[in-house]
């Protein structure tokens, strides 16, 4: 197991290297001059040149890359060209709000989504299935910003129960995580239901029923465990996506997350922050993939990690 993990982790190095070249090339290919943007409309050409030199953007592109890649490998991320704050700090203060929001949303969305999915699968065609799927379809169809603003209007403006936005206490989590998790829960429910229905038709399920295993055990033990494989894949993917920040939710609820940071950094051509953020997302995805593979083996011992 440990050697497997070590090998998999070593295998991520070439992936990250390729990603780094791609990210660097992509960021530098963006039209627009970061030195010019930083200096603002009223600066003189001499000011701009000085700033460009300061930002390390004045050599040939490949030396710029080598310098950046070398520094990044040593976790020297430099300073944001927008706020002059260390990049690690800029990203750090937004990483945790994004991480906690992702975790809270994923937990309730997974529990609820899988629960509804199983119940719909078991009671296929009956009222619980129909109710569950109405939930699923509405969940994916509600636009996040619209739902978010409706929630704010109801719970903050009219009732005064919850803060409109911001980050701090647990109350701040309620509306953003509900809005963010709703579509995840809906997708989960649909996914679980179809996986469940498929497994229910398998021979061993029929065998179990013939043996007289109670229906409840058939559903929760024989079927669910096998239906979990695609659900784990989906959970991993969703988790990775949410860790990249949710621009709409962050904007509506003034949540200090990574999604808005990325958008702001791109429009400001804040190269150090954009590059570090995308590298972070890549690392996250690589790690999540690894975790998903490990979980496969836990869910289904037939899958061996080699």
């Amino acid at each position: 197991m440990l050697t497997y993990l070590a090998r998999r982790l070593a295998g991520t190095i070439p992936v990250l290297l390729a990603v780094s070249i791609f990210v660097f090339g992509f960021v530098h290919a963006l039209p627009g001059d970061p030195a010019r943007l930083e200096a603002g409309p009223e600066a003189s050409p001499a000011d701009i040149e000085a700033i460009r030199h300061d930002m390390g953007l004045d050599g040939p592109i490949w030396t710029q890359y080598l310098r950046w890649a070398g520094n990044t490998a040593q976790f020297k991320l430099g300073r944001s060209s927008k706020t002059r704050q260390p990049v690690a700090e800029v990203i750090g203060e937004r990483f945790f709000p994004t991480l906690w929001l992702t975790i809270v949303s994923m937990i309730w969305a997974t529990v609820l989504g899988v629960g509804i999915g199983v119940l719909s699968g078991v009671g296929r065609g009956r009222w619980q299935d129909k109710t569950g799927m109405v939930f699923a379809i509405s969940g994916v169809s509600f636009p996040g910003f619209w739902l978010g603003l409706l929630l704010i209007d109801l719970f903050s403006v009219r009732l005064g129960w919850l803060p409109t936005g911001g980050y701090g206490s647990w109350q701040n989590f309620v509306m953003p995580s509900f809005t963010l998790g709703l579509s995840v829960a809906a997708v989960m429910a649909r996914f679980t239901r179809s996986a469940f229905v498929e497994i229910m038709a398998e021979d061993y399920v029929r065998t179990a029923r013939m043996k007289g295993v109670p229906e409840r055990l058939v559903a929760w033990k024989h079927t669910l465990r096998n239906a979990l494989i695609p659900v784990i894949t989906l959970t991993g993917l969703q988790f990775g996506f949410l860790l990249g920040g949710a621009v709409v939710i962050e904007t509506v609820f003034s949540w200090p997350g990574l999604g808005r940071l990325l958008i702001d950094s791109v429009s400001f051509r804040d190269y150090p922050v954009i590059q570090a953020e995308i590298m972070l997302f890549s690392v996250e995805f690589v790690l999540i993939n690894l975790a998903v593979d490990v979980l496969y083996a836990v869910a289904n011992p037939e899958i061996r990690l080699k």
């Binding site: 010019r36 603002g40 003189s44 701009i48 000085a50 629960g115 903050s156 129960w161 509900f178």
Partner: protein, 516 residues
């Protein structure tokens, strides 16, 4: 079976009831704490290294200059008591206010002024506002309460520069202690002291030793970044914020009848315009430029784009900028005349051209309205919103006028020094073509140039007004722009709050904030 059903019901019920079951313990701000919700993040707190209004607003709560502006953007002495300017506009002797201390305890005196200015202008520090310090040759300490500033060249608007927030004075102690990180540890002489700044929230607290007696009237001010228009408004309605800016014009109807809040429309010094590249066909013909001015119903433009809040431009400078001179004849809405002028210029069937501008919703709305107005006289423009970085590359970073691809550029300008010079020189001076400054119309006229230069070489306000009058008359005649409007700065506030003002340049004053 029963248990399963029960489980399902509980789950469904929970998912609905969860948000309802939450107790109401927020908005626990103590009396005397004011929350101001703004649309973006504070970028930094070193005024010499900033060029965005929002961060400048934040620094204004803590750091002050020798001069400043009152709420109508009239120049007032702040840390200076008076100034003697030499007639040649080369030397300025500033008498300083006595008995003022910085937040960190350092005394405010002539040496502090010298230290702060020299840090800001030192090219090695690479500060974004160094260019504003360009006129200064030397700063001499005459005595503890007097400094003499000598300029490299005559600069009549120098006192306005002193009033610019980039000239706000930082404590010499903080400069020595924090160096490059001064922007995260601001220490000035202002009404509020720095408390904390993290993830979208800046908090400043009352300066107990403020030199203006009786101020400030509140314990703290918190500036919160709330980018979404609806959410910002909700903060005000829910009582989480007492002041929000900007207030989106399309949402005014939503809160007009709310008894707890007021919408505040304050005049601005913004000029909105379409710069026409006068070096390029067809805009090299003055009749075409006049025609486009007659083609736009500017009152309708104001209504559609800015909800009617503002005034139509009747001079190259907006009415609230010092040195403004109203032009006797305007360019009223007259599509027939526009068509006639186009025909006279050899374009009886109009022409096609790209119209560039910013990519915000409000900017695109403006461009679409113009597109429709121009189309009515046969001029087909394509609306091309540019993302900020792309605009920087295509519009500002043009090496020579011949390389310019800008034909029509819809944009705005607010003279950050509050003076006519900065409302004219960056936009109409022949040495202000990109990449130097912002003359994207590539307009050049010797009469205008001479007047702009003359206005700079004297400190005599009467003579300067005369020079800027000449410049404005010439520009109005040459029409390098489609002159549009000067829109108001719209904000909204709780009725309990007073004393927070949006200045005409879009920055804010919070010194007099008070809660009922």
């Amino acid at each position: 079976m029963l248990r399963r059903k029960l489980f399902l019901r509980t789950t469904l019920l929970l998912s609905v009831a969860l948000p309802l079951a939450v107790s109401a313990a927020h908005s626990a701000y103590a009396a005397g704490d004011v929350v101001v919700a703004l649309d973006n993040n504070v970028i930094g707190l070193d005024p010499a290294d900033l060029n965005d209004n929002l961060s400048m607003t934040a620094t204004r709560t803590m750091l002050q200059g020798l001069y400043g502006f009152d709420k109508d953007m009239k120049l007032i002495p702040v840390l200076a008591e008076s100034t003697d300017a030499s007639p040649d506009a080369l030397s300025y002797v500033v008498h300083l206010r006595k008995g003022v201390v910085f937040h960190d305890g350092a005394p405010f005196n002539a040496l502090a002024v010298k230290t702060s200015f020299e840090r800001a202008m030192n090219p090695e520090n690479h500060l974004k506002r160094a260019a504003l310090y360009d006129p200064i040759k030397t700063i001499e300490v005459v005595n503890d309460n007097t400094v003499e500033i000598t300029l490299k060249y005559p600069f009549g608007a120098f006192i306005n520069n002193l009033a610019h927030q980039a000239y706000a004075i930082s404590s010499p102690k903080a400069i020595a202690e924090y160096g490059k990180d001064l922007g995260r540890h601001p220490s000035g002489t202002g009404p509020y002291k720095f408390v904390s700044w993290a993830t979208d929230t800046l908090k400043v607290g009352k300066n107990e030793h403020y030199w203006k007696p009786g101020l400030p009237g509140v314990d703290s001010i918190t500036i919160r970044s709330t980018p979404e228009n609806g959410a910002r408004l909700a903060m005000l309605q829910a009582g989480e914020a007492q002041y929000i800016y900007p207030m989106p014009p399309e949402l005014v109807k939503v809160i007009e009848r709310d008894p707890k809040v007021d919408v505040v429309a304050a005049h601005s010094i913004y000029a909105r315009f379409v710069a026409l590249n006068v070096m390029r066909k067809p805009f090299n013909d003055v009749r075409v430029r006049q025609a486009l001015n007659y083609a736009v119903d500017k009152n309708a433009f104001l209504k559609v784009v800015f909800g009617g809040y503002g005034v139509v431009l009747d001079a190259p400078l907006p009415a609230n900028l010092s040195g403004y001179s109203k032009q006797p004849t305007g360019y009223p809405y007259d599509p027939a005349k526009a068509k006639a002028l186009l025909a006279e210029a050899g374009y009886p069937n109009g022409f096609e051209a790209p119209l560039w501008g910013g990519n915000s919703t409000i900017s695109q709305r403006g461009m679409q309205f113009l597109q429709q107005q121009f189309a009515a006289v046969g001029v087909k423009v394509s609306v091309e919103p540019l993302e900020a970085g792309v605009a920087a590359a295509k519009v500002w970073n043009v090496k020579a006028p011949e390389d310019a691809t800008t034909l029509m550029y819809y944009t705005g300008w607010s003279a950050s020094t509050g003076d006519a010079d900065w409302g004219l020189r960056p936009l109409f001076y022949s040495k202000a073509f990109p990449p130097n400054l912002f003359n994207v119309a590539y307009y050049a006229n010797p009469v205008t140039d001479a007047a702009i230069e003359a206005g700079l070489t004297t400190a005599d306000p009467v003579k300067r007004t005369e020079d800027y009058k000449t410049a404005q008359a010439q520009i109005w005649k040459d029409v390098p722009w489609v002159f549009l409007v000067s829109d108001d700065n719209l904000s909204a506030k709780s009725k309990q709050l007073s004393g927070i003002y949006v200045l005409p340049d879009g920055q804010m004053l919070m010194e007099e904030a008070a809660l009922k």
